[in-house]
Symmetry: D2
Subunit: 319 residues, 4 copies
């Protein structure tokens, strides 16, 4: 078992669940440190029940994580396979996102070690599961920050552009927009133009004294600071104050929420029980509250669309 790619809150709950479900089912369980790099280097340790005591509530990952370049080479993977064989490891649980599963798929296809993935990323951008481990915590962390910013926005009648994470996906953005009571949300899926933002803000000015605009990272029209400057240029002769805040890495850390502890725990159990039941080359996920297994190939290539009713809800609530 290992964690790879960006860490996310709830990964420790998942690790704990893999260990304890494995032990409960009579298996030996090993933890691989530093993702694929540790697999290659052989930094692998046997896990006992108490190895995962008192970690369910902690952010980060006790197995540490890394992005591995060595694993992208044939030699790297061969070395990794040798290390696993040395310890008699017969199945793998890979906790991470797209990149993690891409590596796992190649490795499985080359060496045939049964592998099940668990969706660990804050971005909620993985096909095959309604939610990823860490997403709920990231949204709640962002919302707490937005609540604080709203205090100061309201006190000064300011317009705040707040940049949240999400890579190619607008999930964090739209949930922060609805939950944060934002006046506007700019996510990749909405393709909002600068002129639309200006128009909206000019319309809102009659009823609202302060405004919050949620901006997802990685938009075509720039980052939050660039967007703010362009919007501000259209308000030149007016006295509105514009401010920008980029929430950044705080969204990755912190104690996991109830939902992420539960999801991490469920996914860890599902991965182990899946392996025992013959599942492989696939990811465990939760859809409509049921555990499902989706081939890595689909997880990597298929897109998970944003819920259109969320966009509509956000629009109505911002009047």
């Amino acid at each position: 078992m290992f964690t790879s790619g960006g860490d996310s809150p709830g990964m420790n709950a998942c690790i704990r669940s893999v260990v304890r479900t494995g032990l409960y089912r009579g298996l030996d369980v090993y933890g691989i440190m530093y993702g694929y790099d540790g697999m290659i280097e052989g930094t692998i340790k046997k896990m006992a029940s108490h190895s995962v005591s008192n970690i369910i509530q902690r952010g980060g990952t006790i197995l540490k994580s890394a992005r591995s370049e060595a694993f992208m080479t044939k030699e790297g993977r061969q070395k990794a396979y040798a290390e696993l064989t040395k310890l008699g490891i017969e199945g793998l649980v890979a906790i991470g996102g797209d990149g993690t599963f891409t590596g796992a798929k190649v490795f499985f296809e080359e060496y045939g070690i049964p592998t099940v993935g668990c969706p660990g990323t804050i971005d909620n951008d993985i096909y095959g599961t309604d939610y990823t481990i860490g997403f709920d915590t990231a949204v709640n962390t962002a919302l707490e920050a937005i609540d604080k910013i709203r205090d100061t926005a309201a006190a000064h009648d300011r317009i705040f552009f707040i940049e949240v994470m999400g890579r190619d996906s607008g999930y964090i953005g739209i949930e922060c927009g609805i939950g944060g009571g934002a006046e506007l949300v700019m996510v990749p899926e909405t393709r909002t133009k600068i002129e639309d933002v200006v128009k909206s803000l000019k319309g809102l000015r009659k009823t609202k004294t302060s405004s919050i605009i949620i901006v997802a990272e990685g938009l075509d029209c720039g980052d939050a600071a660039q967007i703010m400057e362009r919007v501000k240029a259209s308000f030149k002769d007016e006295e509105k104050e514009f401010k920008v805040t980029t929430l950044g890495h705080i969204q990755r850390g912190g104690n996991p929420t109830a939902k992420d502890r539960l999801l991490g725990s469920r996914m860890g159990m599902a991965a182990v029980e899946g392996l025992l039941a013959g599942e492989s080359n696939c990811m465990a996920g939760v859809m409509n509250d049921h555990v499902v297994y989706t081939p890595f190939a689909d997880c990597i290539t298929k897109e998970k669309p944003l819920k259109s009713d969320y966009l509509r809800l956000q629009e109505i609530l911002s009047i």
Copy 2:
């Protein structure tokens, strides 16, 4: 629109959504203060968009809530109907739990004012929705408290009995048990006996130095303090320290989580759009992430069973 029964975090998000969806759809929206009592007394005020500004992040309910005895009488309901008629109110949104819907059902059957309910209670004990508004916040609040208690439990190698809310339902208990990494969970559905608790704790003693037992309120075998005393009696000659904490009303308050703000917002919109589409005498809910409407009669009488795989998950993870 009104809130009734015990308040829950996310009710304000729901109120805001009812107001803004109503206005968006061209309706006049009124807020009834103090639940059914306010309907009888006529403490009803017209709501504008800004009436619900800056409340989505707040616990409690700006409409205040109460349990009404007067509404249980024919005279009370007649007076309420008169007040509603006076203002030309043609539809009702009732935010609350079982008791609220029982009153709404009777009132609808007597006077025929179209009524849709929103599930607002921390207990998650209502048939017709996967989650109720406030449940996620209550679990997260309880978990934060449990995390704190775990600090002191671990520092002293103590056994802690922690009582959580939930009335007749074990939902809060089981999610706190899994998320809090509890060694044991006692909820109405498990019918755990004192001797089972003693046996489990004696078994765990070999591997664990401190333990947390989550106790739902309202068990047949007593409250957390009584259970602790009885368990303690079986450990008489040993040196373990037993402690009890009842989390109490902190679980009802606090800023709503992302999930509860989103759920409250969705339910408020669903109630208004349901009324406009001809739904009545029913509750809006979310099942498998879709909005559904369930007759009040079913919400009140049918039972929502605890998920059996959660119980199994908790058991495996506590080894």
Copy 3:
């Protein structure tokens, strides 16, 4: 170095500081587990800089704590001295409260090992320091809980009696009262009578719809539940709802606040530097923001009075 008595948030910051200041000054540093019991049993381990990495933000104590009966006997202390001598330990840092220092004083007088104490208790009841490590966190934890309860109190127009910790001292109570905007505070120092509470509440009824009364534990007139019952009896014919909540052990745990991390860090350094400078049989403390050393004898016997201007402030603000 060891922690003893009830644990408090910031103890880990203090432990970290003792270790790193000691190493910085070229000393060998040992951590004694489980307080005096561990000293007797010899569960003592050498500490490196990384032994205390990533703990400054955690509640509890990594050295664990216990109340020791064995240390109250001459034999126990003799055994403890033997264990310390075996390792060549030439100075002690005792982190805890009254009971800890009483033991340290006796031990010093019998065996002469230089000892400096650090004030670690949430109660802030120790003479010789303006604040104790853990007090600020406990007050903030209690306040967050009170804020949540206020949500539900306001929603239902209820009167809430909230019991906070503090043993014989009203410090937690009065700071919670002022910070929580309480209508009334009952602490040992005010000797408030039930009839005064009734009178106040009847007076407040004209202007306030909900009320919060902070009750310190250990009052002569009973615990919060008993006081509530007696007050309620005087309101018999009225419709006010009375509720009670006992915050309990959540006040002991949780991540320490900035103040407690800073205070713990300062006290740890002060203890080590005090020992090196020849201080002994005394406690390091902070008075008027300066480090001072006070003989254990004074810390144990002298009383720290509540600030009278805080009581006056609370009274004025509750109008």
Copy 4:
């Protein structure tokens, strides 16, 4: 009474205290909206006890704040005086920072209305008080963010540069550095050079896998992003990952901590009682836990040096 300049958590506690102390002493109390601008425009409202109910726990300021250019002109101040005279206002309480007091001083010298200030700013950069209202909350907010970032820093063995607020003062920086267990702190007072940072990090690499560097805003050597780039350039051939996060405006908002609620409450009372006792043209502050009044002239011009023992403490603890 009014708030001016940047808002800070605890301002509402201060406003509440001014209102209630004033009423308690038999005065009429008015709240001026939007700082000096509102004074000029006459947006002033009479305050009752319930006007400040349920605000002690909220960030921001219910009186709103602004920086006024009009008040810098003679005409503006004349108009303001006229508005105050119209209402018979005989004394002023000015809550804010340097800029606020500069305006208040000029206004007092021109028109003679007795004025007392309360130190409301998160930066803790005002002479005449040990702490300013909002500072403790800002540090705690920053620390919570740093704790989250540490989770992800530790999971990936990264070096994080975190920029905190503080304008010309290193108070927020140094307290975040100690409390956050940072490896290095760069504040205006330390004049740290890039080469020192590089040297420190190279030294630390042997013992630490991840590192946190706290960077105060407004340093001569650039902002956190610029500093990171320059440091990174010296590590070119190595594999360390460098990241930067700017905490930004979240530090201004949020529910005030216990300390800031208490300090705000004390300062509000001190301002009103100071006015009644004949104090004027000065700021109320707390030094060594006693209320003191310092002439505006000193508050504005004198410097408050950083505590040198904090710098030493931080250095020792980062080994």
